[in-house]
Symmetry: C2
């Protein structure tokens, strides 16, 4: 087991090694931008799919809609750069909202994102699987299996730690960036040289009968769901190399520029080439085929790198979820275990929870997760709105130099995010409604956990000057099943800690002759120790031991003694041999833990052969 | 959980209630004969199916073959009656063989039967399921599910205990006995009054071209596989009412007479009516249809009671397996846990192991277990041969009055059983070969377990006069994670048992200011207790604790002190709340159990809210 773990996860790292695990801008981009960049694979498609429901002529509207999405992107990037600088210790929506708006808005933001990261992983891994299947049709029918293998691989990468996974991720992310850049530039060059013919379904500005504001807003809200990956970098500021905030802000800007260029480029080429959505071929793939030629080497590289980046978009969730869970656990809204660091300094429990949650989602939705996208977008734009509103309040409170400009940037961001939330409710309520069931449950769980930790802390706190209680002595009850070397060792130990040692035996044999065998053996060997024989009519050891302990405990309290029950056990040489022995000691420990004033001790005798 | 268990299993019984759980002859027959009696449903069929491969005219040979099977049955019954009287404490093949032939023959007999009982359950439950499906075709496709439900129901019955399940079993077993008796008698009456026409495919003694000794032996060995249920009663003698041996022998005789009458009757009627095997309708069902009329009420009662008794034949395995496992465990060839009695005095672990094993077999063979029958017959006739050979040696050793007659009875039984084993090898090797793979593995496991218990006992035995070792005192290390009420309670206790108390804290924070927070808090409250702060670079608590304990342990040995590590923990009010706390104490206990000279004690502080 240990060897397998070492192979996949790597050697344990010292806590002080943390510095070495930090990220350069190049690696950070690979690690944190795959979600955002992968949206190029479906962003334009989502807009066009809505428009085509009216007519092919409506496709030209994708250009102004894309422009508006780009404005939204710019505003979000500016707004999040401000958050990075204001929260260099890592400023996710949870922290920004709870610090500036209060605990509840913070928990809504945090809870939304927590559920959302699971959806991200499920959705993007499923999308990646579909891309793989359309490249290798022979794999059809194994979607769920492939998706789970991808989740497991990404999980292992993340358990290895940030630095190692960043190195691994660089290849597919930068391959995708290079391929899409070549595609757009080649396309533009071919258009300018006239070797790509103009086939647009209609000119920009052409009148389209039946067009409504509702349709355009519907298309816009669909398209903007591809902006969900922006949050990741602002969460991860502490993992950057120094100067952390500056590097993080720069990385965010670079990501924004690449994403904007890709989104604009693909949408323009799509319109120019007059491409309409087909059932089995994505728009990106059609654009690539038109530019590179169907069946060319570059076309296959495009397909392959798209599949890879879609699958790896899940990694953004893996970067962000454990940090968010850590922050919620630190504030006692989630179990403490999310604060534990694993062998490689990652928050292993968060990573594993996310993996498990997304695998369950993949199973439930059987790998077809498209309808989860509006729900997922809702879960992103609610915290976006909250965190940017929070930033406005922050600037107002501080009113330092330039606060009006900063507030304005965040105000635009908040307004657009909120509008998209409203559009999602208006035009996608059929898919969005579970949000209003999931959130109250998540908030209730947060509250229950917080309340529990609060009560525990109050009960454990030392309120006044500590006064020691001096006991007069200690009673030790040694359980004896039969008289062996283990008994001798246990009694020796008991005499070293106890002032009064009692041996207790539970007999179950109905044969009176055999019943007192242990007693006479014991008395022969240990004549000076009190031996108590208790008959159990129901063949249970725990009940008579508890009953007897209760009596002794009363006496001990009167004499101001403590009570210890010593359970002797022997450890076989090989672990499998444990099944050959009745594990009474284990059951006894569990039963005795219900008694406050009795300490249970285990004496282990080790077998040599 | 407790309530559900009580509902299905019933109230716990006192060990001394055993007497009340004992069986009258009527109940014993119901409980122990379903396997044998159910063979009426397929015994004749197996003979005829072999003969028909030559020609329909060969069917008359089923009459002499059946006669020979009846001789075998009589011999087995006589032989087992002798075993019952010789071993009134329960004389299964395992006990008889190991006492008279030696340990290895005994283990071969015991191992064969152990595996066989699992096969019995799987085979008979599958047969019962098929019978149910052919009655209610709508259930088709759910074979495995139905089979598992039947296994679970029979398991629950057996966990409730002998007496209760006997009462439940009486109805289907006696229903079957009554229905078959009516069928045979009606058939004979109709034949004698001429209302059933003679349709035999050939007269008895007619020359059948191509008939060979091989074919007849093949048919005979197939038919004799229905005699496998005879062993059950001789195993269960201790469960009978007094006089145990006499009642058991009488029950065995009654069962033999019923079985012989049924087998002879069905075979005769089948020949007289000239019935040949059909793919989807069993011979018994065809005989029933001819006598009662297809679609008559009696016909449906016959079908229904056949299905029930086939399913319940599994119960014979449930009666015999736990007793055999108990005997093997008593001789240290199987884990001790098979000697534990459950709430209702049954050997629950044996019952559950059998249930699990047969469910696995049903899954593996997907409910079609017909091909297991020759394998299963082999596993029965090997122990039959061994136990009867053992009886001959016993009579020879004792040479009491009438020993020659008794030896002769057992000799005939052994000879026939051995011949069937040889015929099975000759004519069914394709299905029988796994026996020679399974048995060496089973014997190896027996040997390994025996060897382990032997070594353990040798190491634990007190060889000379016990001399106490007097320790000079005791060191107690109290683990402190933070300074709370739990710490105070644990320190109070530690001072009552220890001469030297050390508090130990494992700090993991990389922030030096925070690192010594616990230390200064502790020193403020407990200035007189030594506090050791250990920094863990790898975020593990167990390793530094073990390392420190090792140092202290060396010192303690030099001073002749014992060492106790006290792990304070608090118990939340509700069990689910445990997941909200890092269960360090659990992991620590596991890690510390690897050290022989350190006793681990747990101090539990109970939260009130």
């Amino acid at each position: 087991m240990q060897h397998i773990k070492r192979f996949f996860i790597g050697k344990p790292l010292k806590s002080s090694d943390e510095g070495g695990q930090q990220l350069s801008k190049v690696k950070a981009l690979a690690l944190l931008s795959s979600d955002a960049l992968s949206s190029v694979a479906y962003g334009t498609e989502q807009i066009v799919t809505v428009l085509i429901t009216l007519s092919a002529a409506a496709i030209w509207y994708s250009l102004p809609i894309a422009a508006f999405v780009l404005i939204l992107l710019t505003s979000l990037i500016l707004s999040y750069r401000q958050i990075i600088h204001a929260y260099p210790q890592g400023g996710g929506a949870y922290i920004v909202s709870s610090e500036n708006l209060g605990t509840y808005p913070g928990l809504i933001a945090g809870g939304s994102l927590l559920v959302d990261y699971m959806l991200t992983v499920a959705v993007s891994v499923s999308a990646g699987t579909e891309a793989i299947i359309s490249a290798v049709p022979a794999l059809y029918g194994n979607q769920v299996g492939i998706a789970i293998i991808i989740v497991v691989l990404i999980t292992a990468m993340n358990l290895r730690g940030l630095r190692d996974s960043a190195s691994l991720l660089m290849i597919p992310v930068y391959l995708f960036v290079v391929v899409i850049t070549i595609m757009i530039l080649t396309g533009l060059a071919k258009i300018s040289t006239g070797s790509l013919a103009f086939h647009a379904t209609s000119l920009v500005g052409a009148a389209v009968p039946g067009i409504t504001v509702g349709l355009i807003l519907r298309a816009f809200s669909s398209g903007s769901s591809s902006l969900t990956g922006v949050e990741a970098i602002s969460n991860a500021v502490p993992f950057f190399k120094k100067p952390k905030a500056k590097n993080a802000a720069a990385t965010l800007a670079i990501m924004g520029i690449i994403l904007g260029f890709f989104f604009a480029g693909v949408t323009y080429l799509n319109w120019y080439l007059g491409i309409t959505p087909k059932l089995k071929v994505t728009i990106l793939s059609q654009v690539g085929a038109a530019i590179f030629g169907h069946g060319s080497v570059m076309f296959y590289i495009l397909q392959f790198s798209t599949a890879l980046i879609l699958a790896l978009a899940a990694n953004t969730g893996f970067s962000a979820f454990p940090i968010l869970a850590y922050n919620l656990a630190k504030d006692k809204f989630m179990p403490h275990m999310y604060m534990d660091r694993g062998d490689r300094l990652g928050y292993s429990n968060g990573i594993l929870t996310l993996a498990l949650g997304s695998i369950v989602l993949i199973f439930i939705f059987n790998g077809s997760t498209e309808r989860l996208i509006p729900l997922y977008a809702t879960g992103v734009f609610v915290p976006f709105t909250l965190s940017q509103t929070g930033m406005i309040r922050k600037w107002w409170h501080e009113r330092s130099k330039g606060w009006i400009g900063r507030s304005l940037a965040n105000f635009v961001g908040a307004l657009i995010s909120f509008s998209i939330f409203i559009f999602l409710l208006m035009y996608h309520l059929g898919d969005v409604w579970p949000y209003f069931i999931i959130m109250p449950i998540v908030l209730l769980v947060f509250y229950k956990i917080h309340d529990h930790y609060h009560k525990v802390a109050a009960q454990l706190r030392l309120v006044e000057q500590v006064k020691f209680h001096d006991y007069a002595g200690s009673t030790v009850i040694v359980l004896v099943s039969n008289v062996t070397q283990v008994t001798v060792g246990a009694l020796n130990y008991a005499r070293s800690i106890g002032d009064y040692v009692i041996a207790m035996h539970v007999s179950m044999d109905e044969n009176p002759a055999k019943e007192h065998e242990t007693e006479s053996e014991f008395k022969k060997d240990f004549p000076d120790i009190r031996f108590v024989d208790i008959h159990s009519s129901y063949r249970s050891v725990s009940r008579p031991v508890l009953r007897f302990a209760e009596i002794i405990s009363k006496n001990a309290r009167n004499r101001n003694y403590t009570i210890t029950i010593l359970v002797p056990q022997f450890m076989p040489k090989k672990p499998w041999q444990n099944i050959l022995h009745n594990q009474t000691s284990f059951r006894l420990r569990a039963a005795l833990a219900s008694r406050e004033d009795i300490v249970v001790a285990t004496y282990s005798y080790h077998l040599k052969r």
